[in-house]
């Protein structure tokens, strides 16, 4: 599948943004975070910018962006529509929660309830994002049980790394956030490895024989493609450029996405202070690079059944 940059940015940024909102909506009312208005402004603004920036980026992917509002109508059948509805609904309680926290310094009571509600809706939004991909039967590398958990934990991991940095700007020590971030990095890494092993060791039930009803005389192979040049289907669904570099790119994800952020978070946990802030900040940049490469690979490694008609023997 062709990894459109707008979608890579959308899924990574809005995933991190909604996950951060989820954490703030739960941890704020529980009193686990600095209660100052300035921290609220910084954390909520970061979450909002990432979520809205990601959603805006997804609109650029559309052929007719001016009609984007129509995407809210088919939530009964479409995960994409559900994601749109859930994302917009999230902003309603999130706005009440933010106003309560920032302007009135309140994170309990009704404001706290709105925080919990925003967290639940943010979780629903991330779930819908994952399901957009996991529900597509023609793509074996997406239609599997690892995809939704992967989206979820990678979002939470990014959010905890950001929170670990932010909290340090207000508090000298924040062992709880750092330890949580470390756990999430470990879980995300483990789940990504399981996903990779799953797609490496299984293949789709569809083959060129089932796609063509041929094979009674033996192996089926393409003799001639329909056209001598590429077409939309091959540009969009037949993308195969990054597959050759799969091993190297997975290495980058392991290093930049998981190993370095874990090391830097551990460092921040141990040393604290200004050095801890710098280490926590670097962990975010490293993880961002790693997750963008991860998302790029998620698309590039995905093989669509239509390629069976264009020379692929299995997908």
């Amino acid at each position: 599948m062709h990894p459109a940059l707008s979608i890579v940015f959308f899924t990574t940024a809005s995933g991190a943004g909604f996950a951060l909102l989820l954490l703030l909506g739960v941890a704020g009312p529980l009193g686990l975070l600095p209660s100052s208005a300035s921290f609220g402004v910084a954390a909520l603004a970061l979450a909002g910018l990432l979520a809205i920036g990601g959603l805006a980026s997804s609109v650029f992917h559309l052929g007719r962006p001016e009609r984007a509002w129509r995407a809210f109508s088919q939530w009964r059948s479409s995960w994409l529509s559900r994601e749109g509805v859930a994302s917009v609904l999230t902003f309603l309680p999130a706005a009440v929660f933010s106003i309560g926290w920032v302007f009135f310094g309140v994170t309990s009571g009704l404001v706290g309830l709105c925080g919990i509600l925003a967290a639940a809706l943010a979780a629903a939004t991330i779930y819908c994002t994952g399901m957009i991909y996991a529900s597509l039967k023609p793509i074996h590398q997406w239609h599997n049980p690892w995809v939704v958990p992967n989206y979820f934990v990678l979002g939470l991991m990014s959010a905890l790394l950001m929170l670990n940095f932010l909290v340090r700007l207000w508090q000298t020590r924040a062992p709880g956030v750092a330890v949580s971030a470390l756990i999430l990095v470990a879980v995300a890494w483990r789940l990504k490895e399981r996903y990779w092993r799953s797609i490496d060791t299984t293949s789709a039930p569809s083959t060129v024989a089932s796609a063509t009803l041929l094979g009674s005389r033996g192996k089926v192979r393409m003799l001639e493609p329909p056209h001598t040049e590429e077409n939309y289907l091959l540009k969009e669904m037949g993308f195969a450029i990054a597959r050759r570099h799969r091993v190297r790119l997975r290495g980058i994800v392991r290093l930049a996405g998981f190993a370095l952020p874990a090391f830097l978070t551990l460092l921040a946990l141990l040393v604290g202070g200004v050095f801890g802030i710098v280490a926590a900040g670097l962990a975010i940049f490293s993880a961002a690079l790693g997750i963008v490469v991860e998302r790029w690979l998620f698309f590039a490694e995905a093989k669509h059944t239509v390629t069976l008609y264009y020379g692929a023997e299995a997908v």
């Binding site: 559309l62 109508s73 479409s78 994409l80 063509t212 009674s216 005389r217 089926v220 393409m222 669904m237």
Partner: protein
């Protein structure tokens, strides 16, 4: 509405039956499709850079060619592919806007271009590659089963068939109601053991493909090392003709 219509008893299911045994791979159906639909219900079907390298454009029907088997037993099969108007079309249910829909009355899957936002998700959801994006208009396009022919009262009744079916020179394509077990197309499918493409995905395509008949294997070709085929001595007439040929070639 992208929720699927409730199937009714005796549901009409208009579709195509494609005979892989007799398709000769002439691409006439693809060309006729492009010609009719470029100015039809879903038109235009734009082409980009049509006269240079990397020419590409929107086609609703594409003819693939496959080989099966090895050596003497191998066979070439031409394989036309267009929208299968599935009974469980995920391309419809994934659509966030309601632009993609399946008609309750005849099962034809269509796109409402006035509503489509061009998110391309339907083309990802189609296992068969039936949908193609129009980069000019920013909307998705697909086979309409020539809805503007089959119900067109300006055409003579015998012409109310999809363009691809009309043009096929070897009668490898049939159009009809596959929901009616007594229809001509249903009988052909039953007689020839017609099947679904990728049935394992559960899309329940309405279009059926008739597999190539078992037939006879091709006669063995002479192999290297065997006795060379005898060369006939040229007859007197041949010798005269060769002499004339040499004379004229000077």
């Amino acid at each position: 509405m992208t929720s699927l219509p409730e199937p009714r008893p005796g549901q009409k299911k208009l579709g195509l039956v494609i005979d892989l045994d007799i398709c000769v791979g002439c691409h006439a159906c693809a060309t006729a499709c492009k010609e009719w639909n470029a100015s039809g219900h879903m038109g235009p079907l734009p082409d980009f850079n049509p006269y240079g390298d990397g020419a590409w454009g929107v086609w609703f029907n594409r003819i693939h060619s496959f080989e099966e088997g090895e050596g003497d037993g191998a066979r070439t099969v031409h394989f036309p592919k267009s929208c299968l108007h599935c009974e469980e079309p995920a391309c419809v249910t994934v659509c966030p806007t309601g632009a993609s829909y399946k008609r309750a009355e005849d099962g034809i899957v269509l796109v409402d271009e006035a509503i489509c936002i061009g998110c391309k998700l339907c083309s990802w959801a189609c296992p068969y590659g039936a949908r193609e994006f129009d980069a000019d208009e920013g909307v998705m396009k697909k086979c309409t089963l020539c809805i503007d022919r089959i119900y067109n009262e300006h055409l003579a009744p015998e012409d109310r068939q999809p363009a691809c079916v009309m043009v096929c020179p070897v009668n490898a394509r049939h159009f009809g109601d596959l929901g009616d077990p007594g229809s001509e197309v249903s009988e052909i499918v039953a007689r020839r053991a017609g099947g679904d493409l990728m049935p394992e995905l559960g899309y329940k395509p309405v279009n059926k493909y008739l597999p190539p008949r078992a037939g006879r294997m091709a006669p063995a070709m002479p192999v290297a090392g065997g006795a060379p085929p005898p060369i006939d001595q040229p007859s007197a007439g041949d010798r005269v003709l060769r002499w004339v040929d040499r004379l004229l070639s000077r």
